[in-house]
């Protein structure tokens, strides 16, 4: 039953989380997403330079051009902490995604 429920979930029900890039910092820099769920990250770059959203733990890598936005799907994730960073400005652009037990 659970399997059917997962398959039949419409795409619209994918939870969306927004992350903004301002002055080479992520806002919010830490966020909590639901366990074992596919999540859509909407990354909005407000800087006038491009940034690359990257995470080895999440297996994700995407350039977000200056003053534009990008979409990255992640998960389903097990409980844990998944760091991410901006590859172009890694000193400041650091963040973490928390996945907690239900």
């Amino acid at each position: 039953m659970l399997l059917f429920a997962v398959i039949s979930l419409p795409a619209l029900s994918t939870p969306v989380f927004e992350i903004e890039i301002r002055n080479h910092l992520f806002f919010p820099s830490e966020l909590t997403v639901p366990v074992n769920t596919k999540v859509k990250l909407l990354i909005i770059n407000r800087d006038s330079s491009a940034e690359e959203f990257e995470s080895y733990e999440l297996n994700r890598e995407k350039i977000i051009p200056a003053n534009s936005k990008g979409v990255v799907f992640i998960g389903p994730l097990k409980p844990g902490v998944y760091p991410f960073f901006g590859e172009f400005f890694p000193k400041t652009a650091q963040g973490k995604i928390h996945v907690n037990e239900q």
């Binding site: 795409a11 994918t14 074992n36 596919k38 859509k40 006038s48 330079s49 491009a50 940034e51 690359e52 080895y56 733990e57 297996n59 994700r60 890598e61 995407k62 350039i63 977000i64 051009p65 200056a66 003053n67 534009s68 936005k69 990008g70 979409v71 990255v72 799907f73 992640i74 998960g75 389903p76 097990k78 590859e87 172009f88 890694p90 000193k91």
Partner: protein, 256 residues
């Protein structure tokens, strides 16, 4: 900033430089003029510039997934032409197709990796105090990446012909696996295939953050936390390329 830019540019240049050096070495072994590489590089750089300049527009296509779709197409294109190269390697009558495939591979690899370099450097052009260190770091990274390519080239052409073919084919097989692995990751990132859970974690053994992890990634698409689809496509592409390589090698030995 300097060290960071060394790493970023190195990683991009290394991937393209590795493919280029193996293909140049194969040209040398097959006594084919290596001049095709100049045209391929120029085409690649033009393509990379066009891609970089239009990245914002491309990214916003298909609900913000345009970038992934273009990169998936590039990976598939390179993969197909790596297969053709492996297949036609020892077939003299197919020399034209062999050269054409090498041009496509190198040009597409430069578009893929070069566009990231251009976007990265361009971002810093508006930040004068950082632009110089980034350019210096970038030059060092590019220098190391190209040196590794030159090293591989001379390593291969100084082997005996049989060993040189084996070694080149082995690298192309690993590169092909890496291409499919990266492509799968983009399919998942863009939600174009059903989402998958990670099936194992070898980050305790080789972390992707480490130098070894980065080199393994450039060489064979190493991934510490892969998904099932990624592993399956990786293995399938390795098996197909190895099959082609084996056939090619037999033809080569028969021809003497």
């Amino acid at each position: 900033m300097l060290i960071n830019s060394v790493g970023i540019i190195l990683r991009e240049v290394l991937e393209a430089s590795l493919i280029m050096s193996v293909l140049l070495a194969l040209s040398h072994l097959n006594q084919i003029s290596r001049s095709w590489c100049i045209g391929a590089t120029i085409m690649g750089l033009i393509g990379a510039t066009l891609y970089a300049v239009n990245l914002a527009t491309i990214s916003s296509l298909y609900d913000g997934l345009g970038q992934e779709i273009v990169n998936i197409c590039l990976y598939v294109l390179i993969f197909i032409f790596v297969l053709i190269i492996v297949k036609t390697l020892s077939q003299k009558p197919k020399a034209k197709l062999f050269v054409f495939s090498m041009v496509v591979c190198v040009a597409a690899a430069i578009v893929r990796e070069g566009s990231e370099v251009i976007i990265y450097l361009n971002g810093f052009s508006s930040i004068p105090e950082l632009f110089t260190p980034v350019l210096i770091g970038g030059a060092i990274g590019a220098g190391i990446g190209l040196s590794v390519g030159v090293f591989f080239y001379y390593l291969i052409i100084n082997l005996s012909a049989v060993n040189a073919y084996c070694f080149s084919l082995a690298i192309l097989i690993l590169v092909a696996g890496g291409l499919m692995s990266q492509m799968t990751q983009l399919l998942l990132q863009a939600d174009l295939v059903p989402s998958q859970s990670v099936i194992w974690d070898t980050s305790w053994l080789v972390s992707e953050h480490s130098l070894v992890g980065q080199i393994l990634f450039a060489l064979m698409g190493y991934e510490a936390t892969p998904t099932m689809l990624q592993v399956v496509l990786y293995v399938v592409s390795i098996v197909i390329t190895t099959g082609f390589a084996y056939g090619s090698f037999k033809t080569y030995k028969k021809a003497g």
